[in-house]
């Protein structure tokens, strides 16, 4: 199956989506963007809840424009599950199921057999989403759309359900569009990411590709890169552009032809602190001395902010065990940081 959106524009209330084009094969496309960026409008346009002003939507050879919601054969999992409150979990699934076998199959697969006699009000957030997913899949859709189904769940439940969803998606052989504002969920579930801002797709690619080569400061920032600095392109050589950040000169591997005033970014995961090992560190590399400003523990990972006086910037790096225990990352401690030239990206100033 292939879901193809071509030059879609949709006006919904005061918001205009697109024009945007997407091709989703039998894969999970995670649409990632901030609130109000148009993620849900993309789903609503595909599902038929809102009618696009222009463009075409095809599921294989079948046009979905002007096709009523009920004939699109597209399953939708809504943000809060949208379970029918007057029906039990079983009745919700049976309402949608095309065959009785589907009820058994998806209640087993989603591990909800023990809660089937409960009404939605008696279910937890995670259970509600499992039932909603079973209900949608029981209708045997040809494509699946999910609108931030994990956003209202507590972190441990979200983490567990994320793992279950990943396993489930691998068993499905249909196009899946998963909308979220959560970068971790998007990268965990998406075979590809589409980064959306103000109704437009800014970048589309694999999570690794987007992390390693964001095409704009917005994409870099929204995919977890908080190291964005004002820089000036001062020269070019055979490796790429040479930039100046404060008093510091940095070699990059970027071929830059735009304005000399740029935004430079270095992803926190690509900065080495102390003697932390790093696989992608290749020459030419840069070493700075800095002072620890702050450290934040996020699960097993530690996020360290280091002030680099010579560049007049503060860089954030992520440190993982066992380095977390080996380094002294207390405030005012002097540390060495290193990053590869390939880790530096340049964007036109916004």
């Amino acid at each position: 199956m292939t879901l193809t959106l071509t030059d879609i524009t949709t006006t919904y209330e005061d918001f205009t989506l697109g024009p945007l084009s997407l091709v989703v094969d039998n894969e999970v496309l995670a649409v990632l963007g901030p609130s109000g960026s148009g993620k849900t409008t993309i789903l609503s346009s595909v599902a038929g809840i809102v009618q696009p002003d222009t463009g075409s939507i095809y599921l294989n050879e079948r046009s979905l424009i002007d096709c009523p919601i009920e004939h699109r054969d597209i399953g939708v999992v809504f943000q809060d599950g949208a379970l029918f409150p007057h029906m039990t979990a079983y009745e919700n699934i049976a309402y949608a199921a095309t065959t009785p076998e589907h009820i058994d199959k998806y209640t087993t697969l989603l591990d909800i057999a023990q809660i089937l006699d409960r009404k939605p009000a008696a279910l937890s957030g995670g259970e509600r989403q499992r039932v909603a997913l079973a209900r949608t899949l029981a209708a045997d859709p040809s494509a699946l759309l999910l609108d931030e189904p994990l956003s209202s769940l507590d972190t441990p439940i979200r983490r567990r359900l994320r793992g279950d969803l990943r396993a489930l998606f691998q068993t499905l052989d249909i196009p899946v569009i998963y909308v979220t504002h959560d970068q971790q969920t998007a990268t965990a579930l998406g075979d590809r990411l589409a980064i959306v801002q103000a109704g437009m797709i800014k970048q589309i690619g694999t999570p690794q590709m987007i992390r390693n080569a964001p095409n704009s400061a917005f994409v870099a920032r929204f995919t977890g890169n908080e190291n964005l600095f004002t820089a000036t392109v001062t020269d070019h050589n055979e490796h790429g552009a040479i930039i100046r950040i404060g008093e510091q000169t940095v070699q990059t591997t970027v071929t830059w032809t735009g304005d000399d005033c740029v935004t430079a970014s270095i992803h926190p995961a690509r900065i080495q602190v102390g003697s932390q090992s790093m696989n992608d560190l290749t020459d030419p590399s840069h070493s700075f001395t800095g002072t620890v400003v702050q450290q934040l523990t996020e699960g097993s990972m530690t996020r360290v902010t280091i002030a680099v006086q010579t560049a007049d910037i503060a860089l954030t790096a992520t440190v993982h065990p066992p380095m977390t225990h080996q380094l002294s990352l207390i405030p005012d401690e002097t540390v060495e940081i290193t990053f590869s030239s390939t880790a530096v990206h340049l964007f036109a100033r916004e």
Binding site: A47, D80, F84
Partner: protein, 271 residues
């Protein structure tokens, strides 16, 4: 708990009690204004008088006309009002506001004015009245007239209450149902109506109670056959207020039964 915190909590609790006492005192005046006349009416008539009045053929005919007419007009109000309520609940346009204005108009019109308004359309000298008369149907001074008058004044209760009930049903549930392959009709039948059901039934009950009590428009359109409110008025002007009491008590009993039904079904078992 520290003494200062205990004092603060105690003061807040005391203030709340004081305010509730004032609210109850003011509301109590209104409550007495409702209940005292009702109790007074009940005490003013012997049960034997009520039973004797129930044996009066004119009263029996009035009861039958009222119950049959109110049932028919409630049925019409429901069948025609529910689709309108659905449209009003789900479409947010300028026409929705204009339409809603027309719907609530009969609620604010004096009943006699409603009767006059209807007479300009279905009265004996109008085109519709003539066409109906040629077909052997009288739209005034007939059960049809009673039903038309009752429908005019009672149907807004169905539309307005059902609209509010349907609006409370999250539209996402309808989208979810349709995305599961169910048609609009199946979705309305299986999702919207069951969820809005208690609210819709409340509106239907209110419409029935309003139709039972309809007097002004009915007087203008159909003095005959007499409904119970018309019978009360006839008894009052022809034989004095005492003769009106028993029929009023019978009508009161019907209204109370309607209220009990309303209270029972208005509880939404899913919330």
């Amino acid at each position: 708990m520290p003494p200062s915190q205990t004092n603060t909590t105690s003061k807040l609790s005391s203030l709340q009690r004081d305010w509730l006492s004032i609210a109850l005192s003011l509301g109590g005046v209104l409550l007495l204004y409702y209940s005292i006349p009702l109790v007074s009416l009940l005490l003013s008539v012997q049960p034997t008088t009520i039973f004797a009045e129930l044996a009066n053929p004119a009263v029996q005919r009035a009861i039958v006309t009222s119950v049959f007419g109110a049932s028919l007009s409630t049925f019409l109000a429901t069948v025609l009002g529910l689709p309108l309520a659905y449209w009003l609940a789900r479409r947010k346009t300028i026409w929705q506001q204009v339409t809603l204005g027309f719907v609530v108009l009969p609620l604010v019109l004096p009943p006699t004015v409603s009767g006059v308004v209807l007479l300009t359309v279905i009265g004996p000298t109008t085109l519709l009245g003539d066409v109906a008369s040629v077909s052997g149907i009288s739209l005034t001074r007939s059960l049809a007239g009673v039903v038309l008058a009752q429908t005019f004044v009672a149907s807004p209760f169905v539309v307005v209450t059902a609209k509010a009930a349907i609006e409370r049903v999250d539209e996402t549930l309808e989208h979810a149902s349709r995305a599961l392959g169910k048609s609009r009709l199946q979705t309305t039948h299986k999702i919207t109506l069951p969820l809005a059901g208690p609210g819709i039934l409340a509106g239907v009950t209110l419409a029935f109670a309003r139709a039972m009590g309809e007097f002004g428009a009915t007087m203008m359109l159909a003095y005959y056959p007499r409904t119970m409110p018309v019978q009360i008025w006839v008894s009052f002007v022809s034989a004095g207020v005492e003769r009106a009491y028993p029929v009023a008590i019978i009508l009161l009993a019907v209204a109370l039964i309607s209220l009990i039904v309303l209270h029972t079904i208005a509880h939404n078992p899913w919330t």
